[in-house]
């Protein structure tokens, strides 16, 4: 029976209360461990199409008569357009339409960051559009930009309210402590730099619009563009069959979709608006910089008695302020925690969520500080983490739906135990060390989400749902779930997704939610079809339906009989068995979270500041694993992206004008394959017994979270140097080494402590 409930919905750590209708989730979970296809290592079902260049990306799309867009973006971080003349652009060769601030909300005459869209041109070729944009005559009144996050805090320039949190009594905790450590950490701006830049192709037809877009949320684009255009949502069709990466930056329509829609309307032609790589590095969103001033205090037995911090999020001109303080509030069982988070509004490009926003930055700082505390206490860092193990969620006073972090720690032990052996590899200027860091994050997904399934007379099934595969292997995982439930071979299942006009509503692919949100709906749809097949078979074979099951493409009875599935489905000729399923609710009153620990082995050349990552062992608890091979890929991708964040990636801004200086991939340095270490993936793979009919949580974000802290702690282990800012460039490494040297000299030279 349909049930109306009021529930909390979480995406990337942000909660909202929503009404939802859910079906009872009547299915029992499958037994733990690998099943027939679920839990196995399965190559991507669309792998061949991708490597052959056949998978249809938005960037590949060529519609007849399609026009191309170039966007005039502000060269100033803060300015006023005192006059703008679009006419010279209109008369340029090949130009079909030009729009400015007066024509569209997404175009501004008061730009607040370098890259803010001001005007746009549609022309027959992209080159013509670019040429025309250069002819737009703008008079700017250039204003003084606000670029310094601490200054923004002083001026109370915020994008949202300052977030304060306190439990227990921080000051009293501090007073009881035997050891206190304090430090200031800084993290940089990094850019998603997806392979496929942000883009959309819009095409008006029959009073409605079709939007081809590289997106993480087909239904979100449908809703926001329907609202923007004043159309009934069913007049907006959104299509995304294959996409080249999003990492959080492609949750919404951006400026490019409304621009393409407006230009398409004016020209009655399909219009593409695709960001160039340079625009991608400026105006497509970013992980914002943070400043974190933290305190951690413990009694001599290692009990954390106070954790506190001021967290400045340099959000940029707009966007939202992620919970950088989240790990400090949630990871450990500390009674006294006090945090303040300042969401600084600056004249810099807006943040967009980036793979575990806030928690990546917050975990770096917290987990580095914890290692400093461990040293001060003379307690092993892994042991210190165990002594402060949280048995329940202290922010909401709720039990965890499941938590196997202790098992992760247990599995980390043999790697952690190699510390002396690894340190002994140090030779000459190369110092070796091991570090670890824990991970906590969301990833439970939630309702609503729906799937349909149809089984044809040939006994093959097609899953139909209007979700998106953002490159994470969703098609494969959904096919595995359907095949498992129907008891048919994996290659007898096809997954149709990527089109809002084909199939029911599906979840956003953000916040590690695709598998935990969509997987249960697909299983439920498959179970619905299976029930019908068994009912029909029972009638055909004159048996009780309770004694029948589907297995290996056959209908089997408890009495030992078996019939090919097609003996039943074949009766239908063109008829089909239709199943439908919905995502059930999350467990009431419980906190659904993911956990993990990573152990990094590194080497540092202490004379040149070169840091080399030799190995990372990633142990995560994300509930049931659907595709062991796909999961491993996710972990590897997260760690590689984390290594970029830790060692080489940084968007660099001009300190006086706020101009973005790193706009190309030679100056914005993502890791290459040569920077990738040995990566060992170890997933606990215990279903969360309280979470849905699958027991699966998401894995997209957890692997990137502990990377930076594990590497920094390994550097500390190798050299004694305390890393304070990311990325760990040569200069930061050499600075930290100099500081450690000076501290060591002072310690040796100082009179013995009384």
């Amino acid at each position: 029976m349909a049930r109306l409930i009021r529930t909390e919905k979480e995406v990337e750590g942000r909660y909202e209360e929503v009404w939802i209708v859910v079906d009872e989730d009547a299915l029992d979970q499958w037994p733990a461990g690998s099943l027939t296809t679920v839990g196995r290592r399965v190559p991507r079902v669309d792998g061949l199409a991708r490597v052959r260049g056949e998978a249809p990306f938005t960037a590949d799309l060529q519609l007849p008569g399609m026009l191309h867009t170039a966007v005039l973006r502000s060269p100033y971080a803060r300015a006023r357009v005192t006059s703008i003349d679009l006419e010279p652009a209109r008369s340029a060769p090949g130009v079909r339409a030009v729009i400015g601030p007066a024509d569209l909300n997404q175009l501004t005459d008061e730009p607040g960051y370098v890259g803010h869209a001001v005007a746009a041109v549609a022309a027959d070729t992209f080159g013509q559009a670019q040429g025309a944009v250069e002819r737009i005559a703008v008079k700017w009144e250039v204003l003084e930009p606000l670029l310094d996050p601490d200054e923004a805090v002083r001026q109370e320039s915020f994008v949202s309210d300052v977030a304060k949190y306190e439990r227990g009594d921080f000051e009293r905790g501090l007073a009881e402590a035997d050891a206190v450590v304090e430090a200031e950490y800084r993290t940089q701006v990094v850019v998603h730099n997806s392979l496929e830049t942000h883009q959309a192709v819009c095409h008006w037809d029959d009073g409605g619009i079709t939007i081809y877009i590289s997106t993480q949320y087909i239904w979100g684009i449908r809703a926001s563009m329907a609202d923007h255009l004043g159309l009934p949502p069913d007049k907006v069709r959104v299509i995304c069959h294959a996409m080249g990466g999003g990492f959080g930056a492609k949750n919404g329509p951006g400026d490019y979709t409304p621009i393409a829609a407006e230009l398409a309307k004016r020209t009655a032609r399909p219009v593409r608006c695709a960001l160039t790589r340079r625009e991608e590095n400026v105006a497509a969103g970013n992980r914002n910089a943070t400043i974190q001033r933290l305190t951690a205090a413990a009694t001599s037995d290692g009990t954390l008695v106070a954790l506190g911090g001021d967290f400045v999020n340099a959000v940029g001109f707009s966007g939202w302020s992620a919970t950088t303080e989240g790990p400090m509030k949630m990871l450990y069982a500390c009674d006294n925690v006090r945090t303040t988070q300042y969401p600084a509004k600056l004249n810099l490009p807006p943040m967009a969520p980036f793979r575990a926003p806030g928690f990546v930055e917050g975990t770096f700082a917290l987990e580095c500080l914890l290692d400093e505390l461990a040293e001060k206490l003379g307690i092993d860092p892994l042991e210190l983490r165990r002594r402060n193990y949280a048995d329940s969620d202290r922010t909401e006073d709720r039990p965890f739906s499941s938590k196997n972090l202790a098992e992760c720690y247990r599995r980390a032990e043999p790697h952690w135990a190699k510390r002396d052996e690894v340190r002994a590899r140090s030779e000459g200027p190369w110092k070796h060390g091991i570090g670890l860091a824990s991970q906590i994050w969301y990833g439970g997904g939630g309702p609503p989400s729906y799937a349909w399934i149809r089984v044809g007379s040939d006994g093959r099934a097609q899953v139909v749902t209007a979700m998106q595969d953002i490159g994470t292997g969703t098609r494969t995982a959904m096919a595995q779930i359907a095949a498992e439930e129907l008891g048919i071979p994996l290659d007898h299942v096809q997954v149709s997704l990527g089109d809002s006009a084909r199939g029911p509503f599906a979840s956003i692919s953000a916040g590690s939610s695709t598998v935990p949100s969509m997987g249960p709906a697909v299983r439920s749809a498959a179970a619905d079809a299976k029930r019908q097949i068994i009912e029909i078979a029972a009638q055909r074979f004159h048996l009780e339906d309770g004694v029948l099951d589907l297995r290996n493409g056959e209908i089997v009875s408890a009495g030992g009989g078996s019939w090919p599935l097609t003996e039943i489905t074949g009766l239908l000729e063109s008829g089909q068995i239709l199943g439908q399923g919905a995502r059930g609710p999350n467990p009431a009153g419980m906190q659904v979270l993911t956990f993990g620990v990573q152990v990094a082995e590194i080497a540092v050349d202490v004379e040149t500041g070169e840091v080399r990552v030799d190995k990372i062992v990633a142990i995560h608890d994300v509930g049931r694993v659907i595709n062991a091979l796909g999961a491993e890929s996710q972990v590897e991708g997260g760690i590689i992206q984390g290594i970029g964040h830790t060692l080489s990636e940084e968007r660099i801004d001009d300190p006086s004008t706020g101009s973005i200086l790193t706009r190309t991939l030679d100056s914005y340095r993502m890791p290459t394959i040569a920077d990738v270490p040995e990566i060992v993936t170890d997933l606990v793979d215990i279903p969360d017994e309280h979470l849905t009919n699958l027991g699966s949580k998401g894995l997209g974000e957890p692997p990137i979270i502990p990377v930076a802290a594990a590497i920094a702690n390994a550097i500390r282990d190798a050299t004694g140097a305390d890393i304070r800012s990311l990325p760990i460039t040569r200069e930061e490494m050499l600075r930290a080494l100099r500081e450690a040297d000076a501290r060591e000299k002072e310690r040796r030279g100082a009179p013995a402590a009384v």
């Binding site: 200027p429 004379e607 040149t608 500041g609 070169e610 080399r612 060692l647 080489s648 660099i652 801004d653 001009d654 300190p655 006086s656 101009s659 200086l661 790193t662 706009r663 190309t664 030679d666 100056s667 340095r669 890791p671 290459t672 394959i673 040569a674 920077d675 460039t729 040569r730 200069e731 050499l734 600075r735």
Partner: protein, 282 residues
């Protein structure tokens, strides 16, 4: 735009000048044109008329870095400079002649800021973001020259033959001045044809970079020993490839706040390079 394919170097040089540009591998020129930093109505394709290939100590200017890095006749410093430059794709297109004539990677210059090197009034990097910039020769302009190969060739004492003259490689470069912001002495209608690279007793190229491949040098150090004399040259530390008279000369460096770390790295790499080429003691 017009693309000319001359059949001799004389024909090529007579087509150069007047705003036309020579095109060889295109790995530098094409991006510069795309970014509007070089404007040319005519490109002169010189690949067919400039010598390429390796003959003893002589290297044709059209030889690609990919060819150099695997040739055992080539001194170690040059091979190592090639291997550590760019990516395999770029190295199989980019020529050694073009590599010597690369423009700086300074982000202000590359983004077309009206900076001193572009003919403007001020160097934006000096007061701005400059961690990748110069630590010597940087009074007017803080840009850093990115060529690994040039540092190796300077240390090796290479000479250059052009369509007009033959000279020591060091004379190809000049620090830009108020009157002339060029960093090379090459005339617009002059082509590098060939290099002559003496064979040292030992040579080496060491490079510090921000990631392990495909990165311009933070500091590159080349050293080449001929009998008892060792020459050292640096990449990525000055607006031009930099000859270091002695290790002690590093103490006279004039780093900016953000490039002081480069001096520390240079000290270490120079020491290691000298150890690397030292004559075996008996």
């Amino acid at each position: 735009m017009e693309l000319l394919r001359p059949s001799s170097s004389e024909e090529a040089t007579s087509a150069l000048g007047n705003g036309s540009r020579a095109l060889a591998g295109g790995t530098e020129l094409v991006p510069l044109m795309r970014d509007g930093l070089v404007r040319a109505d005519t490109l002169v394709y010189i690949r067919d008329v400039v010598p390429s290939g390796i003959d003893g100590t002589r290297i044709g200017a059209g030889t690609t870095l990919a060819e150099l890095e695997v040739d055992p006749q080539i001194p170690q410093a040059l091979r190592e400079a090639c291997t550590q430059a760019a990516s395999p794709q770029l190295r199989s297109m980019g020529t050694i002649g073009g590599n010597l004539l690369q423009a700086t990677r300074c982000w202000y210059w590359r983004l077309g800021f009206d900076c001193w090197l572009h003919g403007g009034e001020k160097c934006f990097a000096r007061d701005g973001a400059h961690r990748e910039h110069a630590m010597v020769g940087n009074e007017q302009c803080a840009s850093a020259h990115p060529s690994d190969v040039a540092a190796a060739l300077l240390a090796l004492g290479a000479t250059v033959r052009t369509t007009r003259r033959e000279f020591a490689l060091a004379e190809l470069y000049r620090l830009p001045t108020d009157d002339d912001r060029n960093v090379t002495t090459l005339a617009p209608d002059e082509l590098i044809l060939e290099l002559d690279v003496p064979t040292p007793d030992a040579s080496i190229y060491l490079k510090a970079m921000d990631r392990r491949k495909w990165s311009f040098p933070i500091v590159g150090v080349a050293a080449a020993r001929f009998d008892s004399e060792t020459r050292i040259a640096l990449a990525g530390v000055a607006p031009i490839p930099w000859t270091l008279d002695s290790p002690a000369a590093l103490e006279d460096a004039t780093p900016l706040p953000g490039t002081a770390y480069k001096v520390d790295i240079a000290r270490t790499l120079v020491r290691r390079a000298l150890e690397g080429v030292a004559a075996p003691s008996r």
